[in-house]
Each structure stands twice: as structure tokens, then as C-alpha cells.
Symmetry: C2
Subunit: 236 residues, 2 copies
């Protein structure tokens, strides 16, 4: 199966959680909106011109005739196929539950620079962003990362499921990498309390396919259009 | 199977999307935190004292030995068991994708009164709440409801899957009911453009088990502690 991933071509965004799973397993895929006339194709699908199962927003994945949206839903589908999740129902639901908590965390990370509205510029909500981010760095980020720390401690292994890597571990890598980019000062403090999560990051980054991916031009750089944005005034 | 639902005892909140599925199908369940010493049991489970699969937050469902958190994940599990979703993988993923979009919408509804931080009082973020809500009522609520309107139009039936009711339709009922409670003025305008969504609400409210539930004391009233809050100053 050759997959087709549809996501905004200039940011890592929510598509990156899917890309990491495809890259780590050496899956064949096209990053459609980054190919010639791929953007037109993505927009046509978002208008429902190609399929009755209309996505609300990218990312979405085309797998044969199936079109699946919502990053966590895509990972739930890909998990057993890429051997990044268990095959039994209870194990798959548990892993998906963790990924949905990643999703919630990602939304709050996005809101550090867009607390009033995603359609407005950051420059028009800087005061609110500062207030949101202070609370985020004091309370929310430690709470989410502390939760994953507890899950890792209870797993009996290095990863959230124990000894075997899953797509959630790849997402934890991305969370740490992105938060370090956005909030380098604050993360130095926050990371001290979550050594198991940082360890997952370090193990993922050392995986040969991930290392090759991160050094390729397929990996977009973090930037101030994506979810993780570095605005120094927020990191104080 | 008798299910045990764990959720905060004083609000409808995210637990309500699960309750509606259980109620509409006449499933047997305990609303544990509303029973004697049920709150202690819920808090013990949130500390991981009963199970290794630690929930980040309520709601969570105990089904035999399984503990499942995240409302959309719970509904994904219950769907085929309560005959509120198809059995085939493609159909289940599509329905789940819609429910995850409900989840995203619910988070933005929550943020109308808590744009800065969920741990702070509304009274300490009223200015930000007004700005967020103006954008929400102008852009976001019409966008989400317009999306479900388009899905209903493409379904070829009255419900999101066509002729047969699913758990997503029950959630659409709750969204309309809650938004009418929170923003009665704004909803009069917004609803004009989404007649198919409103029709789902009307069909769900007329279902005998739902009607009996809404008239029972099992249905908590909307209030200013939940997701849908009526602050008249936001609805202008």
C-alpha cells in the first residue's frame, strides 16, 4: 500500500504526527500538497468533490479508497498496519486514548499564540497570548508531561506500552522537540521533572530512519506559522 | 454488560455525550460519581490505584475489566455494542472522525468562558472571554455547524450516516441544546443556515427514551459550571 498524506505544505503541524509514523516504519507515501498541483487536489477533496466522507480539515490520509481525517484517527488506522500498535482491541483503545491526550495538549500548545482566535494574527492577540502562555507553562505543560511521565513509569519499560515503541512515543518525541523550539528557557525547568519523557525523545531521535528523516528535506523546519512557535516574549 | 460511567457529578460536561448513547439504547449503567462514595472511587482510579491504564481526566468508562477514557474513544468502543455505529472498519472510522470534530468544537465552546486558562475563574478572564466569544459566534460556530450541515446533506438521509441514527447524531442534539442555552440570541441567527442539524436535534429530542431521560433527574440541568454556560454579556 502506498499512502497519500494531505497536509498544509509549509508547516509540520498536526500532519507531522502522521509523518513520523510513516517515516519510522519506512512506509511508502506521498506528501501530496508538496507535489506539483497537489495543493489543488487537497482543496478539491476538502470541498467534497472527490469523496462523500468530507474532512473538516487536514491532515487526512488516502489509503486505497479510504479517506481518513483527524491525526489521532489516522494513527489508530495505521497503527496495526505499521506495527506501531498492538492488534488487540484493549491495547489499541488504550494507545488511542493516549494519542487523544496528545491531541488535547497540541491544541493548548497552539493556543499559546492564538488564545482568542485562529483566524486572527498573533500580533493582534499578544496580550492574551502572554497571559495564556504564563498559565500554560506554569500549569498545563507540566500537567500533561507529568501525566505521560506517570504512564511511562507504570508501563514497566522505556516506552508507553513497555518495551515496544508505538506511535504515541513518536508523538512524545515531537512534543519535546517542538516545546524546546518554542520555549527553550521554560523547558529547561519543566524537563527536570519528566526524565522518562525526555528519554523517549532521545531514543526516538537516535532511530536510524528518524535520524535520516530529520536530516532530509522532507522534514520541514519549525517556523512561526506552525503549532510550535518561538516568540521570545512568551518564554519568560 | 452493566457499564460504569465515571464523570464529575455536578455537570453534564463531556460525560453527557456518553450518557446520551447509554440512555438512548436503554443500556444498563451506573453514573458512579453520583452514587454514595462513588466520588472517592473515581478519584482513586484517577490516581492509578485501580488500574495501570491511567485516565488523564473524566469521563471514563469501566466495561468489565476494561477502563476507557476520552469521550470519543468511549463512543467508538460502545458504538457497535449499542448498535449506534456500523460494524465495518471504514464506517466506524468515519463516524469516529465526525465525533473527534465534535470534540474539537466542544473545546472551543468551553473556551468561550475560559480562553486564558481552565484553572482560573471566568470573572478573571471576562475581557478575553468576550473577545474570544465574538470570534467564536461570528466564525467558529457557523463553521463547525456548517460542516455538519454539509455532512448531513451528503449523507442521503436525515442523520449523518443516512437513515440510521448514530452516536454522532445524539451529540449533535447536545450541541444544539447546549448552544441554545448558552447563546440564545446568537443561535437564532446561526440556526437559520443549518436546518439539517436542527432537524437532527428535533428528531433526537422526540425519541421516547431520550424524552424520558431529559425529564428524569438523571439529566443534570445546564449550569454555569459546565461547558455550555449562559453569560448574557457574551451573547450580544
Amino acid at each position: 500500500m502506498r499512502y497519500q498524506l494531505f497536509y498544509w505544505p509549509e508547516i509540520q503541524g498536526r500532519g507531522e504526527f502522521v509523518r513520523l509514523a510513516l517515516e519510522d516504519t519506512g512506509a511508502k507515501y506521498d506528501d501530496v500538497a508538496r507535489t506539483k498541483s497537489g495543493m489543488d487536489r487537497m482543496l478539491a477533496m476538502m470541498k467534497g468533490e472527490r469523496d462523500k466522507r468530507l474532512p473538516f480539515a487536514p491532515p487526512f490520509l488516502k489509503a486505497g479508497k479510504l479517506v481518513i481525517a483527524q491525526a489521532a484517527n489516522i494513527l489508530f488506522y495505521l497503527g496495526p498496519r505499521l506495527k506501531l500498535s498492538p492488534r488487540d482491541e484493549a491495547g489499541r483503545l488504550w494507545l488511542h486514548q493516549l494519542q487523544l491526550t496528545v491531541t488535547d495538549f497540541v491544541k493548548e500548545i497552539h493556543d499559546t499564540h492564538h488564545p482568542v482566535g485562529s483566524g486572527l494574527y498573533y500580533e493582534d492577540q499578544k496580550l492574551e497570548a502572554k497571559r495564556f502562555t504564563d498559565n500554560f507553562l506554569d500549569e498545563r505543560a507540566p500537567k500533561y508531561l507529568g501525566y505521560f511521565e506517570a504512564v511511562l513509569k507504570m508501563s514497566g519499560g522505556l516506552f508507553v506500552l513497555g518495551r515496544k515503541l508505538s506511535y504515541v512515543d513518536l508523538s512524545l518525541f515531537q512534543l519535546i522537540a517542538g516545546l524546546r523550539y518554542a520555549f527553550p528557557k521554560a523547558m529547561k525547568q519543566i524537563e527536570r521533572k519528566v526524565p522518562c519523557v525526555v528519554n523517549v525523545h532521545d531514543r526516538v531521535i537516535a532511530r536510524p530512519r528518524i535520524e535520516a528523516y530529520l536530516n532530509s528535506d522532507r522534514r520541514l523546519a519549525f517556523n512561526e506559522m506552525g503549532i510550535f512557535r518561538h516568540y521570545p516574549e512568551l518564554d519568560e
